[in-house]
């Protein structure tokens, strides 16, 4: 198990987290730990679609890239944190309070950034 995978495992232990992954902007999975209900190819493709689309819209309108995106739906939540050339994606159930996990997610993102710089 590598260090990125360890970080994924730590995130998965947070209450309400159903999956997490590091995904590049073009949809490649670098590390993952996903609940069996999620298909990894679907998560990668959809996360890539959403982030590319949002980044493009921001760029076209002369705005800087995003640092974090929280998305909420009827049966789940998704948090996207920008790393260097990739994104940390955390999938949660609808009852999880994102604020209570925020510190852990930020810490995990900082750790992943450090790891990618060393690599």
């Amino acid at each position: 198990m590598n260090r990125m995978q360890d970080t994924m495992a730590v995130l998965r232990e947070l209450g309400g987290v159903r999956g997490c992954a590091v995904i590049t902007l073009d949809g490649l999975i670098v590390a993952k730990s996903l609940d069996a209900s999620f298909r990894q190819d679907a998560v990668a493709a959809l996360a890539s679609f959403l982030m590319q689309n949002t980044e493009r819209t921001l760029h076209e309108n002369g705005m800087e890239p995003l640092t974090m995106l929280v998305l909420q739906a009827n049966y789940g939540k998704a948090v996207f944190v920008r790393l260097d050339n990739s994104y940390l994606v955390v999938l949660m159930d609808q009852f999880t309070d994102v604020r209570s996990c925020r510190e852990d997610i930020d810490a995990a993102a900082a750790h992943l950034r450090r790891l990618s710089q060393i690599a």
């Binding site: 999620f38 679907a42 998560v43 959809l46 996360a47 679609f49 959403l50 689309n53 949002t54 819209t57 921001l58 076209e60 309108n61 002369g62 705005m63 800087e64 890239p65 995003l66 640092t67 974090m68 995106l69 929280v70 998305l71 909420q72 739906a73 009827n74 049966y75 789940g76 939540k77 998704a78 999938l91 609808q94 604020r99």
Partner: protein, 365 residues
Amino acid sequence: MQLIQRMRIWKELKRLEQRVREEPSPTSFVDLAQVHINLGECDKAVEVAEEGLALFPQSVELQQLRRFAHRSLLRNRIHELRERIAFGPNERLHNELAMILLELGDFAEARQVCEDCLRRFPEDPAARLALAQALLGNYYRDLASSEGAEAIRCLSQVLTREPDSLQARRLLAELLCRLGAPHAARPHLERLVDAGEEVAELQQMAGEADPDGCAEDVDRLLAAVESGEISLQQPRARRKPLGNDEGLGQIRDALARMVDSGSVTKAAYIRGSKAIARGAIRDGKDPFLRIVRSLAKSGQRFARRLDIGNFSKAVLEGPFGTICICSYGEVVAAIECTLGSDVDALLGQLQELVASSLLQRGGGQ
């Protein structure tokens, strides 16, 4: 389609059908109907949408999906009818085609079909009535006086040939009432009353248009409508609800209150292509509005495809600040605020704004 691909689709269909039975929700019906549409089975998609609407009659998505599937079904039928007409034209096929085109709002094409039918079958009363409906549709859309005059002439011809055609009489009476020509409409209204038709709304329009009962010149009225000097009266059923302006006022006030709170720099309420904006928003092409529209759309797609229901809220953070979005169906409310603002409280206000606007419309699920 390859066998393996067919089997995959069949398996997916079975899964969605089971989900509809076990966990019925607008989303599960929409997903199932969408697969039928992708397979080109629009009739089945309409059936699924109708089943869903029986359980969730207020679902905007199901209504839109049924409309889309129904229109696709009609387009397929148009193609079929055109082929059959080319092979062996007859009045029945022409009329069915014209009625479908009228339903789809393609008045120019419907007019062409009716004229073609009348060239071949000059005595066909249904084609003449359909032609009048196409002309009327064109007139109500463009308000060109020549088309209005043509529609009146065509409806009068139908009535000369078939004085008992209640539909033609009603269409003519409605046009005259909306133009503000109650004198000309009166004989038609009387005939409709004699035939036991419900004309209270038309009589009311006639009364509103002509309080002193003076005579009128229909051609002059058509020209005045075209030039914008007077406007066509709207039937009561199509008038905006009285509370509508008041509702928009409340939305504007709520947006203004958020902007006045200090931390919010931009606020907008978007429904379809229309937006009400407050704060530092220059025009309809403001980057904030573009980002909100784009994120609401892609967020909905992401949530639906990932099977986590409908997208409802998003918070986007960056060096530019924080953008908060609350969405329900086609309605989106959003604000841009400075970093460190109380995002939860602002999202709560946006949710309240969206919910109250939907309640006023009587929409939502």
